[in-house]
Symmetry: C2
Amino acid sequence: MNMDLFNNAFPFWESLTETQRTEIVNNTTRNLCEKKTRLHFGGGECAGVQIIGSGRARVFITSPGGGDITLFRLLDGDVSILSAACMLNGMDIELDMEMETDCEIYTIPKKVYRKLYDESGVVKDYTMEMISEKFSDIMWLFNQFVFSNVASRIAGALLEHRAIEGGDELKLTHEDIAKDAGTAREVVTRILKQFQADGVVKLTRGKVTLIDAGRLGKI
Amino acid sequence: MNMDLFNNAFPFWESLTETQRTEIVNNTTRNLCEKKTRLHFGGGECAGVQIIGSGRARVFITSPGGGDITLFRLLDGDVSILSAACMLNGMDIELDMEMETDCEIYTIPKKVYRKLYDESGVVKDYTMEMISEKFSDIMWLFNQFVFSNVASRIAGALLEHRAIEGGDELKLTHEDIAKDAGTAREVVTRILKQFQADGVVKLTRGKVTLIDAGRLGKI
DNA sequence: GATTTTTCAGTGACAAAATCACATTTATTA
DNA sequence: TAATAAATGTGATTTTGTCACTGAAAAATC
């Protein structure tokens, strides 16, 4: 097992005892998940803390009707603390995760993490900090949803993907964008057409090319 | 200072040392806030942990345009943990609070609570639990906003007020309901008219009387 | 390599909800 | 009582969501 994984993921790693580190290392499982694999968290079930060894995953909520809305993404080295949050009293949320690429996922079982959490103040602080951060992220998203129009949410989604991909050629379908912006696919089609007419993007099947990211940011 | 206040608000109160309790009691301030008093939290400023001695307050987010959307309410004895959450790394949210009645508010300064938080694992656990609970509440609200229509959100808001008030005569303006349901006042007017036509509510100025709460729940 | 199947995009018609611009009614205050 | 403020009502318009399709491009299969 690669020790760097834990050391990079957890700022508290060095401060753990040898026993604690061994306990984690021995109980962590490694899984290779193909693209499109789905995991569900909530309703009592929760795997534990997950570390993305490599790949990219999308965390979202699902509507009764089947549609879903992206909350955030997890990239290489990210820790999915919410996957273990059901160990906490009071936390009761339903989330889904879907791999956007083939992923290497390390899972620390709920019980193992819980023990560590109870033993170590540093781990408690870290957990609190991560959850607070996610809380802030979700509040920001909430603001976007209730106070922004669809066009600016779509623009935001495109710019976020630019930051992730590190380029202006985004391999995204209208469906993908719709989930990130929390709207319907047809609406994305219409607004992207408008963006194209305005000269800020260029559209081809399964791809959006950003022409004028600056102008996109002002929408 | 009334000790019952702390003992009722904080499950950990009995387990604190005499010194800790004295520190809190001596530093807690009591404020009488008139109805409509507003407090802002976020952007570095945050008063500290607040306990509602008596009265009712509404916590909400504010749009750039000035509109606002209710997140939750605080009632007698409730603790507003988010008012102090800015002491945590990673937590960075903007909230407002408005008194819906004259209120008696006790405030434990941020620094005092932070000290307690650092000293005591029990306080840390309590804080984590309260924040997790709020996180869950907000996620639930998020779901309502993105997956439910306006009619059902308005119905939900009415039923929530029934639970708070403990009766079927709700002293609410359409404006009030609009803030709770996250929509515009005119929309509330129209939908309430529909509810009235359907015989589930009766409308008078500044008041909504529930006729058939059961049917309202099914909307 | 041609054909079937699947995925993705485009579009018109309509419904729901938001926004704008007022008019009207009811309560409060001067 | 008149003046003011607060609450409600309503039409017109725009934006967004939903439904029901069609056609085009890519993938999979024969």
